[in-house]
Amino acid sequence: MSYLIDIILIAVGAALINNFVLYYFVGICPFIGVSRRVDMAFGMGCAVTFVISIAAFLSWTITTYVLMPGAPLSKWIAGFFVPADVAAKIDLTILSYIVYIFAIASSVQFVEMYVRKFYPPLYKSFGVFLPLITTNCAILFACLKIMGNIIGVDNPADAWDLGRSLTLAVFGGVGFTIAIVIMAGIREELDLCDIPKPFQGAAITLVVAGILAMAFMGFTGVDSGLQKALTSQAGASTAENKNADINVGMSKFIIENQPIDENIPKG
């Protein structure tokens, strides 16, 4: 249940509250470049969502099994050459940026080839955007966020699993699509307006995006409310006694204490 709540919160957070374009400013180039017509914007959004999911899958897998300090695959390979205790400490995090960018570039290439070969109509509708996507910051940003939630956490137990990572990526892509489609809709109307000449094109798009970002700021705080609503519901259904009594005895807990260095004298 708490896992489901987590997933919902990540999804809402990525798509609306911390929208990739309007909050984190990633993927601005296509947001300004390809938002002239709604159908093109939608095609771009779909392409980004598609690629971002694949990139997230790749980056989660690579980070967890190869790059992370003490990752199983690199530990196993290094185990042949160096003693086991050294192998367990191998940390390839420094390579992560290079690995991610090549994972993205190659997955874009493969997706393009695959789609062109097997789904020509699909390729016609959004294939043209695929090469552009490699340099779209949104994809790399999703990978970096996932990495931050795997490597950057204090306790290994808090590291994101594949489900959470994919949710972030897919709904980040959905958020991108929402933003770019709304923008395209506004710009189609803007064509009919009398805009001062220096502001035509990118400048007015940015100002409109500013107003759009203001509107999206209205979603801030939705997640804490949602979390409260969901947990209280879940708490009621499982009859979980939620913090009612703070003076609970220690018998309630299973204490697993792992001192990091072993110099505590044991009485």
């Binding site: 306790n155 801030t220 499982t238 703070i246 005895g249 807990f253 299973i254 204490i255 792992q258 009485g267």
Partner: protein
């Protein structure tokens, strides 16, 4: 057909050869570059890696004396040249449906336990709030609060980092749950909300309550567990 093939052949192989050589040259170029870059990255990691690790650890550790002893006393101790002995632990708590892990720092001065610092994080108004909470050895009163990370609204929610607001938590009894009130505190367990940022204030207070509720038992157990060893 056959004749034609024979005529074309030498030329084709020649072209193929030069093309092949081009590819091999390119491959060598990429390989050499990759090697150079790999070596430079390894060098960077070796020289800067320890500093980065230290930065990460120091970020929380530097705050421990102030959180446990209060700013004045912490400075006095530093002037005297004494250093706290800080030991990190991980404490896991099993709750219905999930397992939560906390980082806990044990602070000792001259072999004597003087307090605990807990690190906890949770959803704030805008994004995650990460904070450090200082407790006395018996986990009876709060000795300090520090916000490590927040992205609350500037000018409103981000006032949770101001000392004036954080000060309210000091000397609060952990026996009773802290409550956020809007207009002036009356009871001892009340925290004054920041004007216009009740949600952020509630989020921080809620995090403090949950962390104390989760860890009080095990901290008390650890404190009494460590006590006899000192006498031995």
């Amino acid at each position: 057909m056959v004749k034609q093939n024979k005529i074309i052949e030498p030329e084709a192989t020649g072209m193929l050869k030069s093309k092949k050589r081009g590819y091999i040259l390119q491959a060598w170029l990429v390989l050499t570059l990759a090697l150079c870059f790999g070596a430079s990255l390894a060098g960077v990691q070796l020289t800067l890696g320890p500093t980065i690790e230290e930065n990460k650890i120091n970020e929380t550790r530097q705050k421990v004396p102030e959180l446990v002893l209060g700013a004045e006393k912490a400075q006095k101790i530093e002037e005297q040249g004494q250093a706290l002995f800080i030991e990190p632990h991980t404490i896991s708590i099993e709750k219905p449906g999930k397992k939560i892990s906390y980082s806990v720092y044990e602070a000792r001065l001259n072999e004597e336990l003087i307090g605990w610092v807990l690190k906890t994080a949770g959803q704030g108004y805008a994004d995650k709030i990460e904070l450090l909470l200082g407790l006395d050895p018996q986990a009876k009163t709060i000795t300090g609060l520090f916000i490590l990370e927040q992205k609350e609204t500037p000018g409103l929610g981000n006032k949770i980092i101001t000392e004036a607001w954080r000060k309210q938590f000091i000397n609060k009894d952990t026996g009773r749950q802290l409550i956020v009130v809007k207009k002036g505190t009356k009871a001892l367990n009340e925290i004054d909300a920041i004007t216009g940022a009740t949600i952020s204030s509630r989020a921080v207070t809620g995090l403090v309550n949950t962390a104390i509720g989760d860890l009080k038992g095990s901290l008390v157990a650890k404190a009494s567990h460590n006590q006899p060893t000192k006498d031995e």
